[in-house]
Every structure is written in C-alpha cells, then in structure tokens.
Amino acid sequence: MRSRRGQLAVAAVTFALGLLLVIQLRAQSAGGGLDALSSQDLTTLIANLNLHNAQLRDEVSGLKDQLAQLTDAQTSGQSNVGELEAELQRLRLWEGADPVRGRGVMVTISGPISPDAANDILNELRLAGAEALAVQDQRVVPGVVIGGTTGALTLEGARLPDPFRIWAIGNPPNLQAILQRAGGLVSRIEVSEPSVSIEVGEVNVTLPGSTRPLVPADGKPRL
C-alpha cells in the first residue's frame, strides 16, 4: 500500500515536471523574433516595411508591364529588341557596369578616419537610397570596400589620399539628412574620431562604370 502511494506521488510530480518543461521551452523559443522588439523598434520596423513593400510593389508592376510588352511583341510578330535593350541598360546602370549621372552628394573626409567608419558612410548612404556610389574615381560595387588601417586607408590595393571623397547619386536632401541629422553618422564619427572632419555638399555628378569583372567566376548559377 505504502509503495503504491509513493508511485502515485512520483507519477504526479513527474507529470507536473514534464508540463512545466514544455511550457518553459516554448516560452524560450518564442522569445526571439518580433516578440523581442520594443514598441519603438516595432514602429521603426513597420515604417521600414511599408516603404520597402511600396518599392517592391512598383517593381512588381514594372515587371508585369515588361512581361506584357514582351508577350505582345511576340504575338504580333514584332521584334522585342527595344525591350531587351531597355532592360539591359537598366541592369547595367544599377549594378555599376556603366557610367551614370545625376543629382547627389559629395562627402569630403579629412583626417585619420578608421576603415570601419569610412565603410559605415557608404552603408548609411545606401540606407538613404543612394543609387550609385564612388570613392574617389572608383565606382563602388559589391566587393569594393575601404581597407587598410586608420590613417592609411586603401581602396582596390591603392592608398587613398587625405582628404578623399565619396560620391553618391540619389535624392540629395535624403542623403544629406541621414548623414548630418542630430545624432547622425557624421556627428557620431566626429565624437569617436575627433581629428576627422566630414563635409557634405549637394552635387550633380557623373560616376564611372566599374573596372572590375562583375560576372562571378567561381560561382555557377544554380538551376
């Protein structure tokens, strides 16, 4: 009788233990993701998603038009050379293969800046919607990063002068605002690297096409 009661007690406790373990594990796995964000972060995320989804919708409708034009041309027996050329031009400008011109900003950096801070400026300009970037006379494409050490920066194996310039094509007020707003990247760099000074001005500029081979050589398309 005694051992029967003991077995029951052990069974009850083990059951409760199992239940709690599952609840605990579930609570922990749900801790990641959106649950971890504060309301301020969620608001930022929502604004960001709204903006980006609008851009993606534009892209979808552009692609639908393009597809419609292509199929129309085919059914009416016309050549689609015009569409192909327009698509090729758009891609080559966007990826940095061809020279490009437009409104934008010029960022002049003097003093011993760290390579991380210099690359952060490029990242910040992309965040504000820069459509094309150059450092000195080099178009910035994936793979082009500022290297070296503080006070001895390099770009594509060559030393960068002091001062040096970063150019960006894009909406000038947006590009200027993201760098120069209170608490923005320029003020943060000037606090953490006090001997660096950064000037930002609006320009109309032509940027060269990249001199790098842009088509991957080591990777093969996955079908």
């Binding site: 605990q24 689609n80 011109r101 990777g219």
Partner: protein, 268 residues
Amino acid sequence: MNAVLARLRRIPSWQLTLGLALLVLGFLMAAQVRSLVPRAEYSSSELPPLRQTAQDLQDSQDQLKQQIVDLRAQIQAAEQQGQGNSALVTALNEQLRQARLAAGLVELEGPGVVISLRDSTQPLPPDAAPGDELVSAADLRRVISELWLAGAEAISVNGERIAASTALTDIGSSVLVNSSYLQPPYEISAIGPPDLYERLTGAPGFLSFIQDRVQQVGLQLGLLRSDTVDVAAYTGTVNLVEARPVPSSVPSPGPSNALVPPGDGGSP
C-alpha cells in the same frame, strides 16, 4: 555519526526520487515565474497590434519577393523565345544573362565559406556596454568587409544577397538587410577563390574582429569551408530614380576622366 548514516540508509528509494524531482520542479517553477515577468509587461500595452501589423507586412513582403522572382523568370523565358530571330536578339539575350549574373539576380553555387554568428551567452566583461552581447549590424558589416577583402565574389546573409544597394542596419536586438528583418543566428555564405578560407583567417582585420567580439565578449562564431556554398539571389528592386545613363559619347568607362567635378552638369 553512524546513527545518522544508518538513518539515511533506511530512507526508501522512492522518497529520494520524489525529493530529487521536487527539487528540479522548484528550479523550473522559479525559471518559469521569472520568464513570465517581461511577457506580462508586453501584453498590457499597444504591442500586440503593432506586432501583428509588422508580421502582416513581413508576410506581404515575402509574397512580393516571390512574385518578383517568378516574374523575372517569366520575363527571361519570354525574352529567349525571340531567340533565333536574329543575331542581334541572340547577342542581347547573352548580354542580359551576364548582366543578371553581375547584378546578383541569380542564385549561385560554388566553393567558399559559411560563417555563423550568434549572440553571446556569457556574462559581459565589466567594461562592455549593454547590448554588446548581441550580434549587431556593425559586426555583420565587419565580417562581410573582411570577406570581400579576402576575395569573395558573392555573399548572402540568411538568404539576403549583398547587392549594389544593400545596407545593413540595427533594429532592436536584430538586423535589417535589404529592409528584411533577420534574426540570429546569422549565417553569412560567401563564394570565392579556393584559398578564400586561408585568406580570411589570415587577415589582420578578421583576427582583430575575433579578438574584440568573440574572445572578449563571447559572440559565438562558426567557420565552415565547403565546395558547395549557396548564395541567394537578390529579390529587391532594381530601380533608378535619380540616376541616368551617360550619353554614349563616353566610349568605355574610364576610371579617372569619366568623373566630372561638382557644378558641371555632367555633360560630356
């Protein structure tokens, strides 16, 4: 002393089992109660609707991206149907294929490395700032920069391709890449030359990253080399608003003379 031991020996084994189980139960209940505290705080505010909105927007972003991938495939197929019409169309299609590869619109497979980064679970060193234990956008940018400098030719992070317009930025305890919300663990996949791994692990910048963030703060870093690394295709927009083509009198992109100083309208 002997009396105590004898008494202990007389305790039935089921009582010991029960005692042990109760001990574990106590620990778990304490952990449970503690983990419930912040969740109770959340539920009292405006958070659930915000979270739902963010989730809905995220879902529609995933759908839009899938639509873009599908449409790009259909367009490519439609373009190639015109093939054989003329040498011009064939040449244009080949140029388009190359331009898509160069832009990162194509998923790639090749030799390379995969780097995984997780938040630290160790106690922070005394001089660290709060949040230092999390993998930040700056950490990802540092690793990606080192991979490029080591010769990588294509990189993606958790399925987001690092393309010409890609920015990485912090949001809360996570990171936005191409405006997509990513969560740790972060997996950085890079394709490059056969010695990419050696070049990366020998680079002073990468070693100082390991020292600063892995050894001192405790971020968890995994490094894997493989002959079949997958790098995702870029699924964002390829859209230009301000940027215009340069009239074709510039024959080939020259590195120095094509850059026109400010003030000049950029006319060749």
